[in-house]
Amino acid sequence: MKRKLLFLPLLSVFVVGCNGQNAPFSDDEYKPKGIMPTHKIVDALPSEEEDIFDNTIEDSDAYLTAVTSTNESRFYGKKVFADHSSVESYDERISQTATFARYENGISVNKNRTQKSRVYEGTLIENETKQDTYRVLNETEDEIEITTDVTGYDGKNDVETSTASYNPLSDYEVYFQANVTDLIVLMASGGMIGLTKDKMIAMQDKDTSTTPPNAPYIAGDGAGFIVETNQMFEAYFSKKVDNETEEEYYHLSSFRLYTEYLVLSEEIPNIVDEPIVYLEKPVLLGYEETIFTTKLTSNGNFKTSDIPQPAEI
């Protein structure tokens, strides 16, 4: 019991209030938006707006000229459980960005970047990878050239080019459209829906689960802890008017999924019928935040000279 009392202040000093800024990674400036939704729902969704949404959302990806997603995850398994670690315990940071952009001159570009850092006791492992894809439609619009520029975790760069036949009716969505909305609307079903004060349609949901005492989170040395997982989902849809048909439509404006893992207890006592001591302030064990943003305005023309060429053999 004394050992546990000593352990608690140590945890507090180390980690209470811990978030992205106070991470074990010295250059980590990412500040997650966290568990609270960005906008408040202030009105029920009127039937008229619901009808516009239902009738237009399925095809609204066609309006998006660019989509950017970022994913930031942190895990502080070594730092939080400093007194319960093993040689396998680590802290981890993963930063990913993915962008899709469609240009006026028949080119679409995907860029993906991933950075991983993992800190074991005395060991820092850092990795970075990128994968860019350029798709260029020919003048007769029956063939598309696809260039991939990949740099693996080992630093090796590889550029490849291939061509494929192109049918505007069936292939446009595949090569020149960000296909994100269907999945997000599917994920949002079952949550709360309404209007924000800016008249955006909001879909929000929260979920919480806690490890039960008989199946706790197990730290590196085998000690059990109660850990809570909180998840928050928010998606916002804005209304616009189609320039040609003058019909109103809704499109995805932004989306965010945040998951956090909180340590709620001291080490679970190994004495039968001894109550678990819950912490006054939970300790952040890790989080993951994914954010999508969209763009509807033109990206202009893409400079074909910026597309890398395969190395000559």
Partner: protein, 311 residues
């Protein structure tokens, strides 16, 4: 842990201790004060004559009731009360529902029901008020057929009128179903179900049923709390003298049901001793009050029933 719980309890206690439910509401301008589980006092037993009149009335009352009014108020404050420990079976919102219903039967075989419902949801990220108003008209477009139309308006939306039911009508067997208010069935059931029945000082028959059950609510974060659920159902019947009959009978004037949930302990975790609160705190309630009317409503202008605009 003890400190944690004490710290948690102090703000709650300062807000709520010693209060009744209406002293605590996260909803603005909530001035509803429930009658609660305070009921009429039964001051004497019913005589056999009074019991005979009551039983006789059950066979006659449906012929004289021409309308009913009811109000229903529901409040759920579990989210704001428990915060991170909100019970696992409840949503992360406080909610408030106020509804009223008025039904009238007219002499020319028309029944009009108006229902208004105001609902509010509130938590850290939502604050939504909505209102629905519904009218239902049941009438006989021909002597052998009935039709029910409904108009519904939500918030500031346009009213939509739909036909929701139609079918054959036989006056001898279908009148009570289409145009009645099922008073006798309700009264019979509540009187049967009453644990206490007798007369009050105003010579009204009072039937009361009280039930109470305690339970351990399972909260998030592997925690628990003792809660008490109280329910009171009360029916009041007063002597009614019909204009067309010299034999009076007992007619229900009010039916009330009140249901509440009280927290009676601090939050505790497994293997921890539960501490009971000095003053239990009401965190949810529902109160419905129904009144029956015998007013002659005259005839209804059938031409004023709106036409169906949605098929």
């Amino acid at each position: 842990m003890k400190k944690t719980k004490l710290l948690l309890l102090i703000p709650i206690a300062s807000l709520l201790a010693g209060c009744v439910v209406t002293d605590y509401s996260p909803f603005k301008e909530d001035d509803y004060v429930p009658i609660g589980y305070q009921t009429e006092s039964i001051t004497r037993v019913m005589t056999s004559d009074e019991r005979g009149i009551l039983e006789d009335g059950l066979l006659r009352m449906d012929d004289y009731v021409t309308g009913m009014k009811s109000t229903n108020e529901e409040r759920y404050y579990l989210h704001s009360y428990f915060g991170k420990n909100t019970p696992t079976d409840y949503e992360d919102v406080d909610s408030s529902l106020s509804s009223s219903l008025e039904a009238k039967t007219y002499n020319n075989n028309v029944k009009v029901v108006r229902e208004n419902e105001k609902e509010s949801f509130m938590n850290d990220y939502a604050d939504v008020d909505s209102e629905e108003e519904e009218y239902k008209w049941t009438f006989l477009p021909t002597p052998e057929t009935y039709e029910t139309r409904r108009s519904m308006a939500r918030d500031s939306e346009d009213v939509a009128v739909t036909m929701i039911d139609t079918g054959a009508y036989v006056a001898a067997t279908d009148y009570q179903t289409r145009f009645g208010h099922n008073v006798a069935e309700t009264a019979d059931s509540l009187i049967d179900d009453s644990d206490l029945i007798g007369m009050n000082d105003d010579e009204m028959i009072i039937g009361i049923k009280r039930t109470s059950a305690s339970a351990i609510l399972e909260l998030r974060r592997n925690s628990y709390v003792y809660a008490l659920t109280n329910r009171v159902v009360e029916i009041k019947l007063s002597l009614y003298e019909p204009e067309d009959d010299s034999n009076p009978f007992y007619l229900p004037v009010q039916v009330r049901e009140y249901l509440e949930m009280r927290v009676i302990s601090e939050i505790f975790v497994g293997n921890e001793l539960a501490k009971y609160l000095d003053t239990p705190i009401i965190i949810a309630y529902q109160e419905e009050i129904v009144e029956y009317l015998t007013t002659d409503n005259g005839d209804y202008d059938i031409a004023s029933i709106p036409e169906v605009d949605i098929v």
